[in-house]
């Protein structure tokens, strides 16, 4: 069903959060009763480094308007250096996204520590705002790929 441009666009956003830092930050944001957008869905993984290209791309194909991957700050990874690997893989995927007509901004990697509940809320709210401005994902359910 085509959405009329008059109806306000509510993006579907998936957040892959690492268990040790950002998932804990989301808990803190929760216990601090900070307001978060209902359009944001959390999927917990043990480490941001578990997120591979295929998972991200198929999440886009399946219709996510934006994906946030968030983990521990550099140097603070529970597994030593998983977040460095995540960062490198991201840099590569952003290049691929350009070739798919997918704005690289739809994918964001953020570092949010367990103590940063407030920052978590800010990151999620700002990212949601950015994706709302970018509009619907152009390759949703695309048969081109």
């Amino acid at each position: 069903m085509e959405k009329s441009s008059e109806i306000e666009f509510t993006p579907a956003i998936v957040g892959f959060l690492c268990n040790w830092c950002t998932y804990a930050a989301a808990d803190l944001a929760g216990s601090s009763k900070l307001e978060l957008p209902p359009s944001f869905t959390v999927i917990r993984v043990m480490c941001s480094s578990r997120i591979d290209h295929n998972l991200l791309l198929s999440t886009f194909f399946k219709g996510a308007d934006g994906i946030l991957v968030a983990g521990c700050h550099p140097g603070d990874c529970h597994y030593g250096e998983g977040n460095y690997y995540a960062r490198r893989r991201f840099a590569l995927l952003k290049k691929v996204m350009e070739t798919l007509d997918l704005a690289p901004d739809r994918l964001q990697l953020s570092w949010v520590s367990a103590a940063e509940g407030k920052r978590y809320a800010e990151v999620v709210n700002e990212f949601t705002k950015k994706i709302t401005e970018l509009g619907p994902n152009p390759i949703k359910n695309s048969t081109r790929f």
């Binding site: 579907a12 998936v14 268990n19 998932y23 804990a24 989301a26 808990d27 944001a29 929760g30 216990s31 009763k33 900070l34 307001e35 978060l36 209902p38 869905t41 959390v42 999927i43 917990r44 993984v45 043990m46 480490c47 480094s49 578990r50 997120i51 591979d52 290209h53 295929n54 998972l55 198929s58 999440t59 399946k62 219709g63 996510a64 529970h78 597994y79 030593g80 250096e81 998983g82 690997y85 893989r89 809320a121």
Partner: protein, 572 residues
């Protein structure tokens, strides 16, 4: 008719799934913010899964004692094949409900907690929207749990013995704390004597000489400690509970193989060499000494003398040597320089002592007294911005910009502590990373400073970073505490269950996963041409997953099937 496959203890059988969905009200925290009755009725009528029977209920506080008893009874009486709990964060109560499952026939990995409190009721004000979101998460949970597989803990026998590397004060303390009738300690020291740097120290604490010699004596007498002097570590393989270590003697190159369950690294530190630079220009014949060589003179019978044999009538004590360049404060120099000032004054009350410092760092509770005593004894303290020496001529710039020059009989430098020479080589053998300063890297600065990324390898004393005798000993005891609670003789160890496995049929043996594994948990099986995960070492981070070009990896409990299912549900 679609049926769900369940793997059970070696044989595949098909059975109808019966999923229990229990939503916790958490008092008003969830119950007051989410329309649970609507969720109950919506989920009960869910027709996504024709072959799945759903039992949906709510309860006041599921984590309470009656709540857990209720849940246990429900699982047993209903014979659930899967369980979904809608409640709080898994970080709060995942283990609580896993324990409940363990009391029943339900495998704890066929249960899932869905966080509808932190992700819904607490962060979405609009009750309608919060209810919708919670329902969506719960549907996702049901879909996800049906994709989960049973996982089983595989307890491993452990070796309670411990290898301690380094026979200084920290290593000796660790060895003595750990040795016992049911636990042997292998104490390996590269030199020909025990005691390390502490043997050269003088008057650090009352009766210190006695403390050190008493410790050495205790080690020699302890029949559960096997001492290897003039010995180095040649090779290490293994993991917590089961390490195999090859030692090599420096005297005759003979090797000895030992087995241990844990390794304590107490390799100490050394003083950095100030070296000759723009700031430090002196000849070997000049009366310029490091703090440690002065400590040595004081601990001898003759006290401190100049090369001429006379006692010095003035001495400059220069703090913070190399601090700017190293980018860390060694934290102990202020305290020991004040101790040295006191020793100089004891030797001759007329001696003129000037301490040049950038900052004074006195972290221990009795340090302040030492400072006051030094001041009372007439020691001059000068805070400087910059300093340089040419032999025993000291040029310095004070904080107000004023420059000055003084000449002394003797100059004593307090150089930064630096990692000992073998640190890098040993870090390689143990697959433990080094920090930005070259010391062994701890798991966490505050919460676990003695642990390392290689579980079972601990760092104590100054191998971890600059510290004094007392802190070194505390670190040693902290590592002993962790080892004593984790390697209990006769008991088994349960390694992480949610590990990665490599499917042999897909693996090409390219070795990418070996390269990225921080824990060295993957090895190459050359005879089969594949890579293999050592499940006892793997921690299940999943970093290897993205490196596999052939899709041979499976991260248990976070498989692709499971994660894709969650994505599908999130985007419905």
């Amino acid at each position: 008719m679609k049926e769900f496959e369940m793997r059970e203890a070696g044989q595949d059988r098909k059975m109808r799934a019966k999923v229990g969905v229990y939503v916790c009200e958490c008092g008003p925290n969830i119950g007051g913010k989410i329309d649970l009755d609507r969720i109950l009725s919506d989920l009960s009528g869910l027709d996504d899964y024709q072959d799945v029977e759903l039992v949906v209920k709510k309860y006041g506080f599921l984590c309470s004692v009656p709540g857990k008893e209720f849940l246990e009874e429900e699982i047993k009486s209903n014979g659930f094949t899967h369980l979904v709990i809608g409640a709080c964060s898994p970080r709060d109560h995942d283990s609580t409900f896993m324990s409940v499952c363990s009391k029943t026939d339900l495998n704890p990995y066929l249960y899932r907690i869905i966080n509808i409190r932190e992700h819904c009721s607490w962060v979405i004000d609009d009750k309608e929207k919060a209810t919708e979101k919670a329902e969506s998460y719960l549907r996702g949970g049901i879909a996800r749990v049906l994709r989960q597989s049973e996982l089983f803990e595989k307890p491993l026998d452990i070796n309670p013995d411990v290898l301690v590397i380094g026979g200084g004060i920290a290593g000796m303390e660790a060895a003595l704390s750990l040795s016992g009738e049911d636990r042997r300690v292998f104490l390996v020291e590269k030199t020909d004597r025990l005691g390390g740097v502490s043997l050269d120290l003088s008057g650090l604490l009352p009766g210190q000489g006695f403390v050190i010699s008493k410790k050495i004596e205790s080690i020699m007498e302890d029949r559960n400690i096997r001492l290897f002097l003039n010995t180095r570590i040649k090779a290490v393989i293994g993991f917590l509970g089961n390490f195999e270590i090859e030692l090599v003697s420096e005297e005759n190159a003979e090797t000895t193989d030992i087995m241990a369950g844990a390794i304590v690294v107490a390799t100490g530190c050394s003083l950095s060499e100030p070296g000759v630079s723009d700031h430090f220009s002196y000849e070997a014949s000049d009366e310029v000494y490091t703090s440690l060589s002065v400590e040595k003179m004081f601990s001898g019978d003759e006290g401190v003398k100049l090369r001429s044999g006379e006692q010095p009538s003035s001495a400059a004590l220069i703090h913070c040597v190399g601090r700017e360049e190293k980018n860390y404060c060694s934290g102990i120099c202020c305290s020991y320089m004040m101790k040295l000032a006191g020793l100089f004054k004891n030797q001759s009350s007329d001696i003129q002592i000037t301490e040049f410092y950038r900052d004074i760092c006195l972290p221990q509770k009795d340090d302040q007294e030492r400072y006051k005593a030094a001041e009372a004894a007439g020691v001059t303290f000068i805070r400087i911005k910059d300093i340089s020496i040419k032999g025993t001529d000291v040029s310095f710039e004070m904080m107000n910009g004023e420059k000055s020059k003084q000449s002394f009989d003797m100059v004593v430098l307090a150089p930064a502590l630096k990692p000992s020479a073998d640190t890098e080589e040993l870090a390689d053998l143990l697959t433990v990373p080094l920090d930005e300063f070259g010391f062994f890297q701890e798991v966490h600065k505050m919460t676990n400073p003695v642990g390392t990324s290689t579980d079972g390898v601990f760092i104590v004393g100054t191998a971890h970073g600059p510290k004094g005798v007392s802190d070194s000993m505390q670190f040693a005891r902290a590592s002993a505490g962790q080892i004593l609670t984790r390697l209990i003789p006769g008991e088994q160890l349960i390694p992480e269950v949610k590990v990665t496995e490599i499917l042999e049929a897909y693996c090409t043996g390219c070795g990418n996963c070996l390269e990225v594994c921080v824990y060295g948990a993957i090895y190459s099986d050359d005879s089969r041409g594949i890579s293999v995960v050592n499940e006892a070492v793997c921690r299940g981070c999943g970093n290897c997953f993205g490196s596999c070009p052939s899709g041979a990896l499976r991260t248990k409990h976070f498989t692709n099937t499971q994660l894709y299912q969650e994505v599908d549900e999130a985007l419905r």
